[in-house]
Symmetry: D3
Subunit: 275 residues, 6 copies
């Protein structure tokens, strides 16, 4: 919870700085007003409580009333929320609140198009660590709103031995054994491999999870058969909306897709204020 308040305050400070020179020079600090936040296109909402927190950070007396909840789908013209309070607060928070909502809803809306494709498959769609710096917690939340799952949050809460580790350690087996000795007994050990030799070495060393990196659907199918449920299997690397179904049909347990967070555009919203 601290990190969300932190990014909100950072955002308000960088935009408002020592003060909103337009509004403060136009009207007294006590003019009351009302704002409505509207969708300008069809979208999946994520971030309503963040928008609320933006206004409340400026003034705890603002009344922010959501008309929907995160995960709801809305259409152009739908009112997502109402905000009542001092006009100078509404205008100071408007752009920042919208920037949060449009970015997070953009991700949720985008992720949903991937999740829908897989909705009848028994496979788990997950994100990656390719998140906007500073936004890790929020973007991973938007991914869940969109219907996918999170991979580990960061470097501290999951073991993933990647190609760079193996290159430095001198082999998959050596790396897995060293980790198994040192790491907490609550952590599973995942290892990234890119061919059948890697798969065999990983299975042999007792990896809990095997990531098949940039392999074709046929290669993945062969690996899944070889692993034979002795480890969880994750497909990763270069997977697009088009390849989701072929990859899912190989029998993998997990598909991770960087594009969930890397290629989402903002969705359109606006806020109208009246006195």
């Amino acid at each position: 919870m601290y990190s969300v308040q932190h990014i909100i305050e950072t955002a308000l400070k960088e935009d408002i700085g020592p003060g909103d020179i337009t509004t403060s020079n136009l009207m007294g600090p006590d003019v009351e007003g009302k704002g409505i936040i509207l969708a300008k296109e069809s979208l999946l909402i994520a971030g309503l409580s963040v928008a609320k927190q933006v206004f409340e950070s400026l003034d705890p007396k603002v009344i922010f009333t959501p008309r929907y909840k995160d995960g709801d789908a809305v259409n152009p013209g739908d009112i997502l929320a109402e905000v009542k309070g001092k006009v100078h607060v509404l205008l100071a928070g408007e752009r920042t609140a919208l920037n949060f909502l449009q970015h997070l809803s953009g991700i949720a809306t985008h992720v949903r198009t991937y999740a829908d494709i897989l909705k009848d498959r028994n496979v788990r769609l997950v994100d990656t660590r390719k998140t906007t710096p500073g936004w890790l917690v929020l973007e991973k939340y938007a991914v869940r709103v969109g219907g996918a799952f999170n991979h580990r949050m960061g470097l501290y809460d999951g073991v993933l031995i990647k190609e760079n580790h193996i290159a430095v350690c001198g082999g998959i087996k050596k790396a897995i054994e060293r980790i198994q000795h040192n790491v907490s007994h609550l952590a599973k050990v995942e290892v990234e491999v890119s061919d059948m030799d890697g798969v065999r070495e990983a299975v042999d060393a007792g990896a809990d999870v095997i990531m098949l990196s940039h392999m074709t659907a046929d290669e993945i199918r062969e690996a899944v058969a070889f692993i034979n449920r002795t480890a969880v299997v994750e497909a990763s690397g270069g997977i697009t909306k088009e390849s989701l179904i072929p990859v899912a049909d190989t029998g993998v347990d997990i598909i991770s897709v960087g594009a969930l967070t890397q290629t989402a555009r903002w969705v359109g919203m606006t806020m109208q204020v009246s006195a």
Copy 2:
């Protein structure tokens, strides 16, 4: 400069937390290595000094050697930079450094496609305040790298009377006059209008800059003629790559485009590490 260091530290903390449990359990803290950062597609670079600062924030002894500079265009396979230092530092900074570089270069690459369209027109392409919260300074920098200009940075360094202000203040003229009296003599006064009535009122009140919001090319042309160089003219609202030329040809001075920062996707890069 403070704000860039701030977002870098925020990003490193959220990703690394109390420690990288994979690398720290795989190798000693003193193993030395080298990483190279590679482009995976054609792109315009932005953010090399941020990537450098990411690694130096973890360990001031890291040697980060850029092979290009911000604003250069590179092709798939080109090496953007080399990083030498402790392997655990390279791996702890890798993802965060790439996330900065891929996001910022993504914006610069995207903006360049807009700037190129306008390169023979005498019009200034500018961004908006629709930037990712926490990234205001960096994204506005990437916009400049891409060949466009910045509008005001935030609410504190430029006067822009928008429709919400006018609705609350009771009229364009009233708003402009109040601002002119109160604001610093170094600030120009910009006002947003959406039809010829607004244009006339703004000219009459002595606005320094007039923003024509969501008006058609024909309407803009009429406004430009009426204003007749008594104010700077900015076109804004819903402008796409396709409408850039028609709008530019109306004779406006400035075109502002939210899509510069709202619809950019990340560009592809990777980092390879060896001991």
Copy 3:
């Protein structure tokens, strides 16, 4: 708003540190009391809301009731405000609250003596960036309370090409042209000159505002005539209370005076507490 809370917390921490060893060793934490803040001389009030915030930062339950508002003139013995709450809170905040009020009211009272001199002239009296480090926002506020206006807030919200810039850039004209190309279309360009050659070069280059630095009233009059309303004219440098009228009568638009913030002494106040 952040910066005011920041300086308040800094001030309370430096004065109270780990605790008020007099009060905490004299009485229990729950003794209730009342304080009144009194003027000890004639003064113009500035900073009542800051004083309120000081006490509320220590304990949100304190009731601070102002009897006047910022900008009011009071006489010795007048009660500016009442404060009710825990006695240990009243005594912990007393000195800090008074320090803010006495310093800010000191500036407002001082500025008013300058503003009064110019009250029948059509000229704008402004401050400079010579403000106490850490107090920029507050002192510029006190200047406004005293009846003057603010120049730019800092380096980020106004362009002022000073002699040091010109020395490095190689000429007024070169400097102005470079700025005009790079800076936001919402910024006016001001340039500092100290003789008629400078004035001519500035006018020629299209400066929006020309600062006449350390020039005599006669020189200023000549410059105003030459500029002939093609730019806003500001007189600056070494202007005293005595020279305000002669300078104003040259026809300049703006007079900036560093002494507004540099030579103000604190005004006298005290706080009386009873159980």
Copy 4:
């Protein structure tokens, strides 16, 4: 030391914000230059190391070479220090460095005029807690540079039972006894009294230090005789430059003067920069 760095960073942030729009738009970031800081009047220097720290906070590579040291007296035109580094760093730090130096040297210069008056008397001139919020450590340092001593730093490092405490506690004796029981054995107990009844009660209760508040020279003389070296005696309240000698000649040990920090004006300095 932390608090000085803190106020320096606060000051730089509030003045520079997201960037110096004049200098950054006028020249490249790598232009090298030199600045000299000059006195514009006779003054006593205080704060050279703070000025150094201002520039080094912006860029550790700046070379700041003081020509004098704190406590030295200089004349108009004397060069206090040289600064070498990037021009954009020199210009970004210039105003903030001068603001620190001019304010602190202003206090030192002012205090020196009081200290000189007392230089042949066996009495200690001390300051009060009437310091600019945020500047406690620095202003108390400037007081020492000016030749006076510090009273307690804040509420945490010295016991001073004031009239407000006595009013709430129900009597001097009761207050002193309670404190003596509770407070650290390293603290002396000071009590504020305003007449001979108070003096008698304080002596009777065993106060270590007795502050005679707003008493005339004759009253002070009577109190000093009565106390007869059983306690340290401090005169305080409304003491001016004119009353220093009469009060000193009563035989008090300590004279505290709020005006040391409340009525000092800034002294004049300037900085000249060349490429």
Copy 5:
């Protein structure tokens, strides 16, 4: 007060990080519940308001109802406090609140066993600066709850010339005289000595407090006689529970014991939560 909130937030952040992955994945955020904090052994309570602040830092709506107050002695099974609120808040704060309570009550319980030994002696038992880094204010508070007193808080609020100072300064007398000249008139001067030569030099120089370091009861008795109430006498160094009485009976005023904070173990508590 700031420092307690600071350590609480630090503690919550390090334990919770980006979120409690057990509770958040087990139940919705709105499940209400109740917790009771129980003693698992006989103990003296210290820290109830800290525990309250822990839960309120997570959610100001939590209702924390203490059943006892700091300084009360309780038995196994006694309920110290009740907490009502969202279950996810109760479980997120549980371990941190207990860690504070168990550590602080552990110190208070431990100190009480020392204080009880001295309860009929006219000697003051005090702590040292051997406190857990970050916990200075809290551990010194627990010492007072346990029935002892505090020595100085830190390096800033009391003068103690230790052996290392004397070694560098070249003698006790020289050191004391220098301090007396420079330090505030509210500070007593304490000096550490380890033999009768030191005692004589300290008395001669006019020390206010003399610390007898690592001396035997017989040596202390001799020193006390020699000092003869011209200074406060403190015994320090290697004093154990067993030597308390013999040292107290020498006639010293103060006994300082590092073991008060260095050898306390946590006392047992638990928290039971139900929906």
Copy 6:
């Protein structure tokens, strides 16, 4: 790494505050000296790099030379490290550096006595979340130095369903299934049970790790046999040095002991400084 620097700065600030009034009033800031840190008893070292960082935080120019490394055992009189630098820096850092070293080495020394008992058993000794608030990372490090392992770091990096969760969720099975659906595929699921019914339910639900809480050695043996390697088995709750071997001999995989961090006392060290 951030959190260690954070607690160091917190500790230095609380001890030094606005300045060391003894040393600063005794000698000039430039006196050079040397300190040696000595063991006063047999101990296992932990925290040398923290002590180094303490001095370097005060002055990066201090030369701290360790004579041993963390994990080494030393005897009374052994020199752990030398520190060279300004005397005022050595004395300002002395107590804080020792407080870190004595506390951390105290834990390592204490943990080693537990680890030694189990050194020929094939069981992993781990800590708990019962760590001093603010010290989580450092105390868990000292545990590793002492020869034990860490359980999860906090609530964010490991799933542990405790009795309070089960009470609220309505059963072990229900809780495990809900977690398995929601949590990252890299997390193992641990559940706390206290009798054979719980064990059976946990095995049935597919728990990855089963914590046997407060069970006797005989009960644990029965549980181990029943679980039969389908899950990792951890014994926890009330385990003392005496019960380590009986519990280890039941065949459990993990033994967690709160006393590792709750009952360690500081070990004795001192620092001697000379000019």
